[in-house]
Amino acid sequence: MAYQESKQVQIRYYAALREERGLPAETVTTFAGSLRELYLELRDKHGFRLGCERLRVAVNDRFGNWDDELADSDRVVFIPPVSGG
């Protein structure tokens, strides 16, 4: 396995996730390779109730896919089921 450098990513939380985390945003140092790995790592740590299948994810203010690679300095938002309108 290739050597993996740690990445620093910024995470913002909204709605139910923000309340579960108790924070609107944080900077995280992680070895996660993908957005999915990042979420699972954080879910494990903070006990978020919803799984990836109920969420969407955005990177740098664009919708992304769970298997997209995570890059250093990415700004990540996990998007709980929406309820606008």
Partner: protein
């Protein structure tokens, strides 16, 4: 045109944007905070938005509707913050030459706004509890109809 508004939505200035000699039809939709949802008495609600992405996705929706239905103008304003029963939560207005396209476009926009924009609603109930709509983990909540 799409706006997120922290203040009460004023409709008259929005309607004035629709003056257009070509337009025979203007369809509008107002989503308001109602005093009940899923059988529970509602006192009010709070909207929270992931602003950068909500605005970008909304502009995409407006363009889709404009192209597909040949609109002259399309406008949507969505509230964020704390709302009470009767307050306007979202306003959609579209103009076109004919009514069929105007109705279809207005409905397309509000449906897409509800399903695609990263905006969340927390309901405040008469019994003092609060709940992020659609965000419960149980199956009951998954099957709910939360649409206006």
């Amino acid at each position: 045109m799409f706006l997120l508004s922290k203040e009460a939505i004023e409709i008259e200035p929005l309607r004035r944007l629709f003056a257009d000699a070509r337009a025979g039809a203007v369809a509008t939709f107002e989503g308001r905070v109602r005093n009940h949802n899923d059988g529970r008495p509602v006192l009010g609600l709070d909207y929270e938005a992931y602003e950068a992405l909500a605005v970008e996705e909304a502009e995409t929706i407006m363009k889709e509707a404009t192209d597909r239905f040949g609109l002259y103008k399309a406008c949507c304003v969505h509230r964020v913050g704390s709302l009470r029963v009767g307050d306007l939560a979202v306003w959609v207005g579209v103009s076109g030459a004919h009514r069929a396209e105007a109705f279809a476009a207005c409905q397309y926009i509000i449906d897409a706004v509800k399903h695609r924009l990263p905006i969340w609603k927390r309901e405040r109930y008469a019994d003092g509890s609060v709940e992020w709509v659609n965000c419960q983990s149980g199956s009951r909540e998954l099957s709910r109809e939360h649409a206006h």
